[in-house]
């Protein structure tokens, strides 16, 4: 589904990703862990198409398409979703209105029929069961005045409605207390399916207690230096990140066999 090869990326003239290689298949959950500054968030931003990230080498193929050649909205329509580390507040734009506009824009780009307000409402009600989010938040402006937990739950709720093929969770656990973390993880787990993959970017192992990954990769200095199963996360928790710094990069595909 997603094939990242030898990806190099630069931000403000500084090389951040230095040869990242990763393959993700449908249905898999991959955790990307690593110390601050390793390039975790850069990976999410490059994949979703944020301005200011210059890819200098390598390729990203998503479902047979050159992902890097697509505009952010085209990536969204192709099925890539980024849950933001810092969801943006947008005063004056109603949350439900925004979500319907986004869903219909994606459907238009895919050549599918748009949902009218009744159909959309029905979909929202269904998805509300998955993600516990109050009606009141739906009627407010996007993320405006939301607590940290509400913002993250709103991200997962958007994901539930937009039904992406690949969901990238960028430090979704940051700033959450344990109850909020559990709720977010529950939402994510409910959306796991054989044709949907997740890339869970996190600094801490804690989230992985609730979202069980199939693979764990350690990112250091812009490369994946270690890959393994979920036990790798526990090892990191025990030993910290200091030990990974002098590791050689290994290919994720090698680690899997």
């Amino acid at each position: 589904m997603l094939k990242i090869e030898n990806l190099h990326a630069r931000v403000e003239g500084k090389d951040i990703l230095k040869g990242l290689t990763l393959t993700v298949n449908p249905g898999e959950v991959h955790a990307i862990m690593g110390p601050n500054g390793a390039g975790k968030s850069t990976l999410g931003n490059v994949l979703s198409g944020r301005d200011g990230y210059e890819v200098t080498e390598g390729s990203v193929i998503f479902q047979g398409r050159d992902l890097l050649a697509l505009e952010p909205e085209e990536r969204a329509a192709a099925g890539v979703f980024l849950a933001f580390q810092y969801p943006v507040e947008i005063p004056g734009v109603n949350n439900t209105y925004f979500l319907r506009a986004a869903l219909n824009a994606q459907r238009r780009q895919r050549g599918e029929a748009e949902l009218d307000s009744m159909q959309f409402l029905k979909l929202v009600r269904e998805k509300l069961k998955i993600m516990q989010i109050s009606d009141e938040l739906l009627h407010r402006a996007v993320n405006e005045g939301f607590s940290g937990g509400e913002k993250k739950r709103n991200e997962i709720f958007q994901m539930a409605v937009l039904e992406p093929k690949l969901a990238i969770l960028d430090e979704t656990d940051s700033g959450l207390d344990i109850d909020a973390l559990k709720q977010v993880a529950q939402g994510v787990n409910a959306l796991r399916s054989p044709d949907r993959a997740f890339l869970v970017i996190t600094h801490y192992q804690r989230l992985l207690d609730y979202i069980e990954p199939d693979f764990v990769h350690v990112l250091a200095d812009g490369r994946i230096v270690e890959s393994g199963d979920k036990s790798l996360a526990l090892k990191l928790e025990e030993h910290g990140y200091a030990w990974v710094n002098d590791r050689d990069p290994v290919l994720a595909s090698e680690a899997r066999t």
Partner: protein, 438 residues
Amino acid sequence: MSQSPAPVPFIDALREAGSLRLAGSGLAWLEAARRENLEAFIAAGLPDTRAEAWKYTALRALGQRRFALGDAQAASHPVDPYALTLPGIDGPRLVFVNGVFRADLSRLEALPPGLSLQPLSRVLENDPEPLRFALSRRYREAGDAFARLNAALAGDGVVLRVAPGVRVGKPVHLCFAGTPAQGDAAWHVRNVIELGEGAELDLVEHHLATAPHKHLGTLVSDIALRDGAKLQLALLQNAAEDSTLIRHGSLHLGAKAQAMLHVLELGGGLVRHDLHAELRGDDARLDTRGVFVLRGRQHVDTQLSIRHQALNTASESVWRGVADERARGVFRGAIVVAEGADGSDASLSNKNLLLSAQAEIDTKPELEIYADEVKAAHGATVGQLDERALFYLRSRGLPHAEARALLTTAFCRAVFAALPNETLRDHFSDALLAHLPS
């Protein structure tokens, strides 16, 4: 005369205007006022940017143009009445085409009791005396140059009165349509509007074009609210994109009177809107909300001046400006709290959004306070769209133009949130969205 100044075609075209036959010609007092205002306008010429009121709006290019004195065919141009309708507005309607009253397009039958609504041209023929005071005014300030021209040449307009205590149930629609004529024409419209004590009225002023043209229109409105009167005024300005429109409004509020004004400026090539409001009676309240959304090479200049002259008066002004492409917007908001207007509460917020590097907006909030125990706040900003918000929307699938339009509409939303007519509010939203370049 030792020097002959460079010829100004705009002024030269007015030299024959004194012999024009307008409604009310033959009334000595009116002829005198018209003649004096015309002579004064010609003598002074168009104001230049040295005058503070015209600092950001240069009239040199306008000075080089020659406009016909009115449009002789204005009474007979075919106009589709359906094009004049506004959703949510189905009451009495007064229509002017190129500044001339059109009975065939208006809806004046079965007016609600207590409402008097007539074209100025008819009032001047039948019963001009009550208008003597309003139409005898001599304008002297540089900022009032076009009011002076209007006073010299206006032969039509709106005369509206609501009797004391009467609440007019349906909104009154004043419609000013521009339509192509032989060459570029100048038209001048004069409105006199009065709400008696305790009267209530919803009024909609609507400018539109049936097809592209380059006319000049001036419109002067005097609106008086007697004690306890309430006015809702919504203005939708969607004039032809190459036209020039100059509006000059004065609004007087008596004790406990309340006025709420909503303005959406979308059209016109060169547009100037002056509003002078005076809160003359204790506890009067004025709310003004407005936005201009500009594109291409539009130039729109809004000049708001509010005077608090009585005890415990309140004014709240919320204005937004959006300029895209090479457009230019100007906003000046001046609030004066006069001596003795103790307990007044005045606030003014003006926020502006530049959508292109070539667009420009100049804003100038001013506050002068001469009274005690006054609450006053004002602020102005000019900024750009939030790139993070734009990316957030795009990352969810909204194409760039749609994301931009959504954020721009959101930026303007606060302006119309309090517009009570929901259908009209939606129409304003749609019109604004339609005007954004995609």
